[in-house]
Assembly symmetry: C2
Homo-oligomer: 450 residues x 2
């Protein structure tokens, strides 16, 4: 699908359209492939003065064997310059030391020279302290200003990804998991995002199989994004349980057989679905991914009661009921991970999707509302909000709208189911208990937002 769009956009008609709109012609994104070991396939430049850069140094050599610093002697690393260094695949800038407005120029001073030496699809991470954690209002304002900077940088770098991670005191040891995701092609279609890491007990022990020993449930797993999530969790070592409606049981069984998992054919909106699910997961579950979702698009003026209710029931009510049942029955284990699939529509609203946007905003609300109580058991709950992802669902969108949806992001193209799956797999990791109640967009830095 994505390839077909790239072919179109690079055709003469497509190029003309793209140019008329002032949008860049998209180029294929680099993605994670099996067999890779190092997250960063090239040089990593570390800059900025502060405690967070210091915290990166001890594990930085596990990310890549080509480490550089912005200044001579910093972190005992060789100094990088555009003239003498290799092309840069990854940049990490520790902005946590910036507490005065005058210091913001350091952002320009660090990044400007790198533009002459960026490799394809460079990955960039800014590290900071959450503004709300700071007493000095100027320091808080400076740290908050990083959001505007990183999102602008994302729009300038385009095919690369630029994220801002606010690291809580004591959460420095959770940086490795976050950087392994954000500095690798696993986050190929993620840009312009802001996440907050907090202290968390657990750690990944084996980075080649971070989910080893974990059992993961994925709903809506027979195809599209759900199937990609199941594959990715299995790749990372999880034992997968695939759930979908009985009508697609054959596809579900075939995939679960291939992944060495188990399938559960079940309508999640059935009255006895919670009880059936608890029974099917009698030996517990560690990771629950509520991926099943439907659209029933109509403008509100023409929205039937059936369209409205079915979307609310499948996308919002069922995940809540199932999660509660798994909690009440003790099925969801301590340090469990719940991942909900939201949508850009739930953030920005969408014409013709008032039911869908309501359900997906509610999903975000569910993650935010449940996070504090679940945190007491070490369980995290987060939402992944996909933008335009190439699936059978989006293939059904009329041509003009589809092309617009695909193009309206920093990368000028739609994402792949794998992109959503990688984000889910990161949230599912043991160390990702450092995040809860948060929303991560996988949208190529879509222009759309709120």
């Amino acid at each position: 699908m994505s390839d077909r769009y790239l072919a179109f956009a690079n055709s003469s008609a497509g190029q003309r359209l793209v140019k008329t709109l002032g949008l860049p012609a998209p180029l294929p994104l680099e993605r994670w492939r099996g067999g890779r070991t190092r997250p960063v396939d090239g040089a990593l430049l570390l800059g900025g003065e502060g405690a967070l850069g210091q915290a990166v140094v001890p594990f930085a050599h596990k990310l890549t064997d080509a480490l550089y610093a912005a200044h001579e002697g910093q972190h005992a690393l060789p100094r990088w310059t555009a003239e003498h260094g290799p092309k840069l695949k990854a940049l990490v800038f520790d902005a946590s030391g910036l507490t005065r407005f005058e210091q913001l120029i350091e952002l320009r001073d660090f990044f400007q020279p790198t533009f002459k030496g960026l490799a394809n699809c460079p990955r960039v991470v800014l590290l900071g302290r959450a503004p709300e954690s700071l007493k000095d209002p100027i320091a808080a304002s400076v740290q908050r200003s990083l959001e505007g900077f990183s999102r602008s940088l994302g729009k300038e770098i385009r095919r690369g990804g630029v994220q801002l991670i606010y690291v809580g005191k004591g959460a420095e040891d959770q940086l490795e998991g976050a950087l392994r995701f954000f500095l690798s092609p696993k986050s190929a279609y993620v840009s312009g995002q802001v996440v907050r890491l907090e202290r968390c007990g657990e750690q990944v022990t084996d980075w080649t199989r971070p989910l080893a020993g974990k059992k993961a449930l994925v709903t809506g797993a027979s195809r599209g994004i759900g199937a990609a999530i199941a594959e990715t969790l299995a790749r990372d070592g999880a034992e997968v349980v695939l759930l979908d409606v009985p009508a697609v049981k054959d596809a579900l069984d075939a995939l679960s057989a291939r992944l060495g998992g188990r399938s559960v054919a079940l309508d999640i909106c059935a009255e006895d679905a919670p009880a059936q699910l608890v029974a099917a997961l009698a030996d517990g579950v560690d990771i629950v991914v509520h991926n099943a979702g439907i659209t029933r698009d109509k403008t509100l003026a023409k929205m039937s009661e059936g369209f409205w209710n079915s979307v609310i029931d499948v996308n919002l009510k069922a995940p809540q009921l199932l999660t509660q049942a798994l909690l009440d029955a003790g099925t969801l284990q301590d340090n469990g991970r719940v991942v909900l699939i939201a949508s850009i529509s739930g953030i920005a609203g969408n014409l013709g999707q008032s039911n869908y946007a309501t359900s997906k905003a509610g999903v975000i609300g569910l993650a935010q509302a449940l996070a504090p109580a679940l945190g007491k058991r070490g369980i995290s709950i987060n939402a992944v909000a996909p933008g335009f992802i190439e699936t059978q669902m989006t293939a059904a969108i009329p041509f003009t709208l589809r092309e617009a949806g695909r193009r309206m992001n920093s990368m000028g193209q739609g994402g792949l189911p794998q992109d959503v799956a990688e984000a889910v797999a990161w949230f599912a990791q043991p160390g990702s208990g450092a995040l809860s109640g948060q929303v991560l967009r996988v949208c190529g830095q879509s222009l759309l937002g709120a």
Copy 2:
């Protein structure tokens, strides 16, 4: 300016372009004109069951003399139907009673019939309870889901505005000011916004001159948005002090003479600016509007140190220094109002505006960081984030970019300086101490966001 665009967009070439992009041809927005007394020039329909609708009833007759309810006998108001009622100019739906997913259908049930009876530029407000204030996670999720609904509705209603107001317990008496703004053409270019009202001691006493007896400082007041703010604050009864750089002293003096105010010619980045301002406002100030701002656009790769620093200094550092000086000197009075001008760029980031976006995100951070301490003195601090506003600044943008910027919102057109000014004037009111640390976008529900 706006008229020129409307003429273009409705020309045959313009229509073709607009149609190609799948965007609506814009129609002129209704705006507030002097001499009006009632906020709602037409019928208002009140719906939903809950305490907030009840709180609206006592003052609803001051908004309009044509009040209707969605159900027979509700609030002792006549029932509206599309067949028998007049066209609706304003809708208020109290969603605070929605605590279960099944109740969300009430949103559809209330709004669907109204589509057959909407007047031009209808204004819609949903009332709810802030999700974070609710203990029940389902109720919190339902209230959070209203964001997705209201933003979708805004995109379907287009020329109207749809907002969501989360009303804190005890803040019901602050609804009148919010509804006078959001249900009137004063908020013509505001849509898709979410604000939170909290308890606040002060009230407006005279709605024809809500700022009577207040002294207001406006920076960058000689032209454009700043001049519109000064005019609007003066219209609302404030004594205005207009500040701008010495180079435009003539225009500044002419405007302040017309408004019966005073002018201060001062470079806000001068070292002695804080001291000079404190001296110029020796008898105190109640309202401070930090409107002065500059752009110096370049991609980061080509951004000079001068471009970077001047934007940070004017847009971010000066407002902070001046605010602090006014606080330290006791110049800013108790129950004062500080309004900062941010930007959509500060929220979404922007290509070629890394300096500007950083400064404007920092401004948002400043409002958030200062709000708690200032609140102890009844002082509020908020940010208004304009989208594409027709000014000399935006007139200088190259044609294609400018047209795209204008079109990419629910209303298919740019806003006017007056639209920003009305939002500032609302934040400046005595009752608006109910909001602090918040950001209100004046952007026609721009597609752009984060």
